[in-house]
């Protein structure tokens, strides 16, 4: 479903991604981890074109990102994305946050979108919070609204960019639970996270990155039981300790 082929990216002189290649199949849950600054977030932002890259190609659902003939907006509408800081629209209620893109991009009717939004809010356990503004919600609740907002576009793949790192510890699980349910329902997911518990429960593969390179790309149990590289070993030992 997603093919990443030899992607290089520079910020000026600084190379942040080098020779990154990977492929993600339908229904897979791929966890991307690695020390901070290793290029994880940059890599998944390349997948929906929020970040540009100078070399290589990424193909989503057989459509190349870097191509004049690709409608990047249409492509993005099929790829859901959840951000570290939720990024809800502060001037809109939960329902309005969720219905904006389906109404304006997919041109669905308001009634249809609102109905769908209520179902999605129920799915993430927030039926009672549809009329509230983001500022009236806790971090965990905001992030669950953000997930519902992405799902409203019926994406073929969901990208998660450190979805729990900005949350207080007691709220992490309510978000992870929603993500686990989503994974079990067969959604294709690419998740940048340090939550190794999540990876062990539902992850199909782990991509370990360091210094802009993909160092390991392994099946999930293998990675945890027997990491190949020293850097992955060091990383895991630090993560597990905490």
């Amino acid at each position: 479903m997603i093919m990443i082929e030899a992607v290089d990216k520079w910020y000026g002189q600084l190379q942040v991604l080098s020779e990154c290649s990977a492929s993600i199949d339908q229904g897979e849950v791929v966890v991307v981890c690695g020390p901070s600054g290793s290029g994880k977030s940059t890599l998944i932002k390349c997948i929906n074109g929020l970040e540009e890259f100078q070399k290589g190609q990424i193909t989503v659902d057989r459509e190349p990102i870097k191509s004049a003939s690709t409608n990047i907006y249409k492509l993005r509408s099929k790829v859901g994305m959840v951000f570290q800081n939720f990024e809800l629209y502060p001037h809109l209620t939960s329902i309005e946050n969720i219905t904006l893109a389906p109404m304006k991009v997919l041109k669905r009717s308001r009634e249809e979108c609102v109905q769908r939004a209520r179902k999605l809010l129920q799915q993430v356990g927030l039926s009672a919070h549809g009329e509230k503004y983001p500022s009236q919600l806790s971090g965990g609740q905001q992030q669950r609204v953000a997930i519902a907002r992405s799902l409203a576009m019926d994406p073929i793949v969901m990208l998660f960019d450190e979805p729990t790192s900005a949350l207080d510890p007691e709220m992490i699980n309510e978000v992870l639970d929603v993500m686990v349910d989503l994974a079990k329902s067969g959604m294709t997911m690419v998740v940048v996270t340090h939550e190794m518990g999540f990876a062990q429960r539902v992850g199909s593969r782990v991509i370990f990155m360091d210094a802009g390179k993909i160092v390991e790309d392994r099946k999930c149990p293998d990675f945890f039981s027997n990491p190949n590289s020293d850097r992955a070993k060091a990383f895991l030992s630090k993560i597990v300790k905490h």
């Binding site: 929020l50 790829v79 951000f83 990024e87 893109a101 991009v105 503004y133």
Partner: protein, 242 residues
């Protein structure tokens, strides 16, 4: 102090109708200037922060030219120089056939000047709104135009209501510069009364009171608008950027 107060001149004719005429001109000039400057300033702010390089260059040039040249100089340029540099027939139209030439040119000048100031205010709002919601909106497949229309501009306007209010007030004060090209607004009319009666203190007190009343009205309007907006979504500190 050998000054002979005659407050009664303010209610004597023709001075009372001079003041009334001045007030009407100030309100019309400023109100129309605001109606032109707000959309134009918004457009410039969007161009300046938008993804198109040519737009950013045009926006930056506009702001630099119109904000940095003193308003009174701009008034003279519009009124005296502009008709001389355009093709002769158009110049003749501006000088002889345009209805209310000094009012119309003063209005154009004030609008373009105010638009440059509003553009900077709105731009600061757009920048404070941040790249987060922008990325979220783009990631959901919204085009740049829709991202600005439904997410960034509503956020920015809520953030900049206080500076926007003072810009609104500034238009009324700046409208008095139009007296330099012969627009008989409040200040010019009170000069006129001073010149005919030598009761300058009374005339300028009347002008001061009228300006103060206008300011008060604007503040009340802005307060009502703010209350309306806070009923319709998070505001100010609540929108505040994490």
């Amino acid at each position: 102090m050998n000054y002979h107060w005659h407050w009664s001149i303010l209610v004597e004719q023709p001075y009372l109708s001079w003041l009334a005429h001045g007030l009407a001109v100030t309100l019309t000039l400023s109100g129309l200037a605001w109606l032109i400057a707000l959309p134009l300033g918004t457009l410039i702010a969007v161009l300046r922060t938008g993804p198109w390089k040519i737009g950013r260059v045009i926006g930056a040039c506009y702001v630099r030219v119109f904000r940095n040249v003193p308003l009174i100089v701009q008034m003279f340029l519009w009124f005296f120089v502009f008709p001389e540099v355009v093709p002769k027939t158009f110049g003749f139209f501006l000088k002889r056939q345009l209805p209310f030439p000094e009012f119309t040119m003063g209005l154009l000048c004030l609008s373009f000047y105010s638009a440059s100031r509003l553009a900077e205010t709105i731009r600061s709002g757009l920048e404070t709104a941040g790249s987060g919601p922008k990325n979220a909106a783009l990631a959901s497949g919204l085009s740049y135009v829709k991202t600005y229309r439904f997410v960034l501009l509503p956020m920015a306007f809520r953030l900049v209501i206080p500076p926007l209010t003072s810009e609104f007030l500034a238009i009324f004060k700046n409208s008095s510069v139009a007296l330099a090209i012969g627009v008989l607004e409040i200040t010019a009319e009170s000069h006129q009364i001073e010149s005919f009666t030598f009761q300058g203190f009374e005339a300028f007190t009347a002008a001061t009171v009228l300006y103060a009343l206008i300011s008060l009205m604007c503040l009340i309007l802005a307060g009502l608008f703010k209350r309306y907006l806070s009923n319709a979504g998070g505001l100010g500190a609540e929108v505040a950027i994490k």
